[in-house]
């Protein structure tokens, strides 16, 4: 009897230990935004299909996440198995060997990597290999108040110029009733005002660096672009615009205080949601403004899922990424939350889906914006860097934030446009020389 019990206990122990060793826990680092939070709520679908994989979420604010994930990956800390990273990081980290290429996923016919939008696929590839899978993608476009345009006798062209936008903004502005013609980002930061101002500068024919990596803030294109932006915001923008980022402008637009807002296409679902927006029924969309060129007039960004080189669970991680960025996931979100809430901007097939096109009035302008953004060819003159609203080099975060502070000061009125450009030129030249780009 004792022997039987002992054997049974042994078998049970072996079974339990086998079960314990079979279970894999993936730690996923992600940002706090609507689409990511929705994914966390829907993970039961993944875990029911993969009972041996447990998911552990670490949700953080974008800048905190960037610092933490960079520290972990640079030191090979191995705290994370799946990372949420932007299109800025993918080529830089892939080049350093910090990311695992998603070869299996790319070759998987059911995953259908060929369905990923070409511009986005280019942005998340390095050396023709996929290093991250896009979870949602975005570009920038104009969101405008159709009722205010009608009242002012204006018609938004399909591809407006910045001159038209300036004139329309001046016409709509009614400061006595707190209606401002245009709301744009002014808050300093490489991902804040620099993203927007770089697209303005691209449209005005400017570029960050010439072919020898020398900054070009001392050229006439940058002066025209920055002067235009500052003058227009001073005349037709809201007070305190130098402190406004995406969220502040979203709140202003939703409260009916902006005639136009040029920002991320992902905002379209927020401004047309009657629960959050007072002007949901009166919003129109148009291509981001061009000026001397349309190249680089609208940015390109995607949040992507990638596997750090330090992870020991690459197989399970790739399985999870395959689930979260698949066509089936889009259908799952649609079945639970409606087509208007599926993560946009990654798969071509979504924009061929009649249900999605009906539910999301912003779908086609978003598709048009993403397809027209080219990270490689985004300036009128040739450039040595990749990226529309950023230059995909490790130094850009620091340089962009410093320049952003100078531009924000010009908008706030604490320095002139000339002073801001001169300081931007000096600081960027210094950093690029120090980093070895300029000999």
């Amino acid at each position: 009897m004792k022997k039987t019990l002992g054997t049974l206990a042994g078998v049970a122990a072996i079974a339990l230990s086998a079960h314990a060793s079979a279970e894999t826990t993936l730690t996923i680092a992600t940002v706090n935004n609507g689409d990511m939070i929705r994914m966390q709520k829907l993970t039961d679908d993944f875990t029911s299909k993969n009972p041996d994989i447990k998911l552990n979420w670490v949700t953080l604010e974008e800048n905190v996440l960037r610092q933490k994930v960079t520290t972990d990956i640079a030191t090979k800390g191995g705290q994370f198995d799946v990372l949420t990273i932007g299109t800025y990081e993918v080529p830089i980290w892939a080049k350093k060997g910090w990311l695992v290429p998603l070869d299996k996923l790319e070759a998987d016919a059911t995953y259908d990597a060929g369905d990923i939008m070409p511009a986005i696929r280019t942005a998340v590839s390095y050396d023709k290999k996929l290093y991250a899978a896009p979870f949602y993608g975005e570009s920038s476009m104009i969101m405008y108040r159709t009722d205010l345009f009608k009242k002012a006798g204006l018609t938004m062209p399909e591809k407006p110029t910045w001159d038209f936008i300036r004139d329309a903004a001046a016409k709509i502005t009614d400061k006595a009733h707190e209606t401002y013609g245009i709301c744009l980002r002014g808050k300093a930061g490489w991902g804040e005002n620099i993203a927007l101002i770089t697209t303005v500068a691209n449209a005005f024919g400017a570029r960050w660096f010439n072919e020898e990596w020398k900054p070009e803030f001392d050229g006439p294109e940058w002066k025209n672009a920055l002067s235009f932006y500052v003058d227009m915001m001073k005349n037709s923008g809201p007070p305190g615009a130098s402190a406004n980022g995406f969220n502040e402008n979203l709140a202003l637009f939703n409260a009916g205080k902006c005639g136009m807002w040029i920002d991320a296409t992902v905002a379209a679902s927020f401004v047309t949601n009657p629960k959050d927006s007072k002007v949901a029924a009166d919003v129109g969309f148009a291509h981001a403004p061009c000026e001397v060129t349309c190249k680089g007039a609208n940015w390109l960004w995607a949040w992507n899922l990638a596997i750090p080189a330090g992870s020991q669970k690459t197989e399970a991680a790739e399985k999870f990424i395959g689930w979260a960025t698949s066509k089936d996931y889009l259908a799952l979100v649609a079945s639970k939350e409606g087509w208007a809430n599926v993560p946009p901007g990654t798969r071509t097939s979504l924009y061929e889906n009649a249900d999605y096109l009906t539910a999301a009035p912003f779908a086609l302008p978003t598709l048009d914006a993403i397809n027209s953004a080219d990270p490689v060819d985004s300036t009128a003159k040739p450039k040595p860097y990749v990226g529309v609203q950023f230059a995909a080099i490790p130094e850009f975060q620091g340089i962009g934030t410093t320049v952003g502070q100078q531009f924000s000061a010009a908008l706030a009125g604490s320095s002139t446009v000339d002073q801001a450009l001169e300081q931007a030129q000096q600081s960027t030249l210094r950093e690029m020389t120090k980093a070895g780009y300029i000999k």
């Binding site: 730690t27 706090n32 030191t75």
Partner: protein, 275 residues
């Protein structure tokens, strides 16, 4: 003279209330925002009391996060690091207060100088040490970091309190045959209790609010309330109301602790050991 005195008292009372309300206002605003919808939270002009009150932010925070897990970690880390700090700081402060040498002052200044370095300067070396010792995302590792980070302040505070205890009392105890252990336990400790209590409270609050190491060295298992709050800030999307609800929940325990111990805290911070 009496009229002047009453007028002065009234003026001081009003002034104290104004200063008190000014200090309290951000907390009040955060609590009010936690009961607003996201649209109301961003509205201009801001709405003070007449808005649509809702509990939906608290419901969402509860649904999305494991509040009690993070709260328990905060309690363990703040009290754990404080207790370890006391174990080291009491003998150190005792030694420097009652047996000073010519280098005591420099030692104290050197200890404090470690607080002057920005933590990010040692992030990578500490991270590497933690990685190699397997202490990333562990409560023990964080207790060590928080204890070492706050140790200079604890030593300084205790040293200040101990220094005010007359040496004659200790000498009298020694004359009566008290050993060093008995001297600390029966003479020094009872007299320094208000000081030790306020040091403990302040250190607990500092450890509770520490947001650099707790964010960088944890992921989930050892993550305290600072990571819980950080998960509600978003670059794209309205989040103020939810962030306020998360912050209100995060500061609630420490506010309660502060409320019940304010008498000891104020006494310890404003009076010496024997006054």
């Amino acid at each position: 003279m009496a009229v002047y005195s009453v007028r002065r008292q009234v003026t001081m009372t009003i002034l104290a209330w104004i200063v008190g309300l000014a200090i309290f206002f951000p907390i009040l605003w955060m609590v009010l925002t936690s009961f607003k919808t996201e649209l109301d939270a961003f509205s201009t002009p801001p709405q003070f009391l007449f808005f649509h009150w809702t509990l939906e932010n608290y419901a969402e925070v509860q649904e999305r996060s494991h509040y009690f897990h993070h709260a328990l970690n905060s309690i363990i880390l703040s009290f754990g690091s404080t207790l370890v700090a006391l174990l080291f700081a009491i003998p150190a402060a005792w030694g420097m207060a009652f047996s000073p040498t010519k280098r005591t002052r420099s030692t104290l200044l050197w200890m404090l100088s470690t607080k002057m370095m920005p933590p990010v300067g040692v992030l990578v070396p500490i991270y590497l040490i933690f990685r190699d010792l397997g202490m990333l995302d562990s409560r023990f590792g964080l207790i060590m970091v928080l204890f070492l980070g706050n140790l200079p302040i604890v030593v300084w505070m205790l040293y200040t309190y101990f220094k005010e205890i007359p040496r004659d009392i200790l000498e009298a105890a020694r004359m009566d045959g008290a050993t060093i252990g008995k001297e600390i336990i029966y003479i020094l400790a009872p007299m320094a209790i208000p000081g030790i209590a306020s040091t403990v409270l302040l250190n607990v609050i500092l450890a509770w609010n520490e947001a650099f190491w707790t964010l960088n060295l944890t992921t989930s298992e050892a993550a305290p309330l600072t990571t819980f709050i950080a998960s509600y800030s978003s670059p794209e999307g309205l989040f103020w109301a939810k962030l306020s609800a998360a912050s209100t929940l995060a500061i609630a325990p420490i506010m309660v602790l502060g409320w019940f111990s304010q008498k000891q805290l104020v006494r310890g911070l404003t009076f010496g050991a024997v006054k």
